[in-house]
């Protein structure tokens, strides 16, 4: 288990470095940042000034190395728009987004896994078809549209949940549903397909031959083996949820990283945008690494491969 973990860790570090470089490149090279910062109607010398002030006139590699160096010391620079320390800003907003992503994932799993199991235990029944139908429709609904519908419902017809702001736990309910519902269908299909395949395997037949009870067979013997792809997907989806929170946070006025990203991007606040993109990438790499390790623990055969 140890050598496997070390190998995976090394790979993760490599990916993280590559991502930070790529993000850096994309953000600075996708257009002339100085011109964009200066705004319309700026004169050539204004643009040059800006370029010099923000150090945009030096070679990209130098800029990158300087940024990396500072980052490793925890210095992400100053926000151009908010005029405060970037790290503080991000640290402030991260918990909100992390909670949102986590709740969304939990919601999605809580809905999809039981449905997937039931659909697999009674394949081709009306339950199965209903689950698949729900999955298909859920995947077609744009999340900002669904969010607006939820707001309409709970602001006008059923005012029992808050539809904006981030003061208390109840503020997270609707946004979690609006963000989580979209990732539920893939989990449900995966759970269903995985369970169907596992339930048809020889070792389940052995478990039946031993006279074990139905729930024991489905939950103890089958589910564990069907979980492996779900864990892998969960890591990927968590990363997607963190990045995709932009829309939902903006709609529900949830003061998290996504909303911060939207604001900083709209105002071309480069240091903040860069920090957020890099941070989210590192989190994704960490999550997939974690998922790999969890899977190796669940299925001992993976440790050898």
């Amino acid at each position: 288990m140890l050598s496997f973990s070390l190998k995976r860790l090394g790979l993760a570090v490599l990916v993280a470095v590559a991502v930070s470089a790529l993000a850096f490149l994309l953000l600075r090279a996708s257009g002339d940042v100085a011109t964009a910062l200066a705004g319309e109607g700026a004169r050539a010398e204004d643009i040059e000034n800006i370029r010099r002030i923000y150090g945009l006139d030096r070679p990209l590699l130098v800029q990158y190395l300087e940024w990396i160096g500072k980052m490793l010391h925890g210095d992400f620079g100053q926000s151009l728009y908010f005029k405060t320390d970037v790290l503080e800003l991000v640290r402030d907003k991260l918990p909100t987004t992390a909670l949102l992503a986590l709740f969304s994932l939990l919601f999605a799993l809580a809905v999809s896994i039981p449905l997937g199991i039931v659909a697999a235990v009674y394949p081709n029944s009306w339950v199965d078809r209903a689950c698949l139908g729900l999955a298909v429709v859920g995947q077609a609904l744009p999340n900002f549209f669904f969010a607006l519908i939820l707001i309409m419902l709970f602001a006008v017809m059923l005012p029992i949940l808050p539809v904006s702001g981030s003061e208390s736990w109840s503020n997270f309910v609707l946004p979690s549903v609006a963000l989580g519902y979209y990732v539920a269908p893939p989990f449900m299909r995966l759970a269903r397909a995985g369970m169907i395949e596992v339930l048809a395997s020889d070792y389940i037949r052995t478990a039946r031959a031993k006279g074990l009870s139905g729930p024991s067979i489905v939950l103890k013997h089958a589910l564990v083996n069907a979980l492996v792809p779900i864990v892998a997907l969960a890591a990927v989806q968590l990363g997607f949820l963190l990045g995709g929170s932009v829309v939902i946070e903006t709609v529900f006025a949830l003061d998290g990283l996504g909303y911060l990203a939207y604001q900083s991007i709209s105002h071309l606040d480069l240091p903040v945008t860069q920090a957020i993109v890099t941070l989210l990438s590192f989190i994704y790499v960490g999550l997939t690494l974690g998922a790999d390790l969890v899977n190796a623990w669940l299925d001992p055969r993976i440790r050898v491969g």
Binding site: L14, V15, A16, A18, V19, L22, A23, L26, L27, S30, G31, V33, A36, P123, N124, D128, R129, L132, V136, V137, Q139, A140, L141, P142, N143, F144, F145, L148, I149, I151, M152, A155, V156, A193, I196, E197, A200, V236, G239, L242, G243, G244, V246, V247, T250, A261, Y262, I265, S266, L268, T273, I276, V277, L280, S281, Y284, V285, T288
Partner: protein, 300 residues
Amino acid sequence: MTEISTLPLVELVGPSPRTLLHRRLLGHKGLMISVVLLTLILLVALLAPVLAPYDPYAQDLGRRLIPPVWYEKGNWAHLLGTDNLGRDYLSRTLYGARISLLIGGSVMVISGLIGTTLGLAAGYFGGRVDSLVMFVTTVRLAMPLILVALAVVATIGGSLWIVVLVLGLLKWDRFAVVMRAATQQARGLEYVAAAECVGASTLRIILGEILPNVLPHLIVVATIEAASAILLEAALSFLGLGVQPPLPSWGLMIAEAKIYMFFSFWLIAIPGTALAILVLAINMLGDGIRDVTAPAAGRA
């Protein structure tokens, strides 16, 4: 007893695989429904200039926020009502189909070309090429797509073609991953080995033997990516960093209508439902093709 040689060949051997495939295609209800639906939407989009009763950009401030015809205050002159600038909603919705289909199609093609090339190469050559492609794909996956797209558009400026380019150049990851897996499977097939023995060139093998085998997977991923691109553009436009006004992108229409939402719900309901129907049809198409070409996966 009839001489074996005089029996029609079809009776002996059975219908050809192609005929069987056609039968399965026609028998799959979801697939047929989606094909009909998509064809309809495509026709509507193509014929929008003919079908739309008004110019989608023509403002008429004297006729703002008229509800659709099934409301009390609606009238037949504007079947789906008008928006906050008096523009006919039916016309805008029809033209919006063009934008969504254009985005979906173009992004699918661009990202498909990039991703499929990478996936085929990784799956066929294996070894270092594979490791490199997987590394690049992992790096791409680690980046939050929406944020990067938003940032690039913010810097360059938004327009239909910028969105197509940005999404097309970034959304190839799923193509690469699926095509790689499918190619690895196809690579092990016996007639690929046979072609290699005969000395066929690599390009010929990839295009002639591997590609036909992985085609079903390619089509399924293409539908997923097209639907995803459409939703992504809608989200970008909704945030103001995608297609720019006055273009009738459905996502943009929802953004513009947000402040009137509580009193004129149809303003967001119509483009939202249109998006859902289009994406639903595309997803059903992909599901149907997957069912028909690989029925042994325990699906209903």
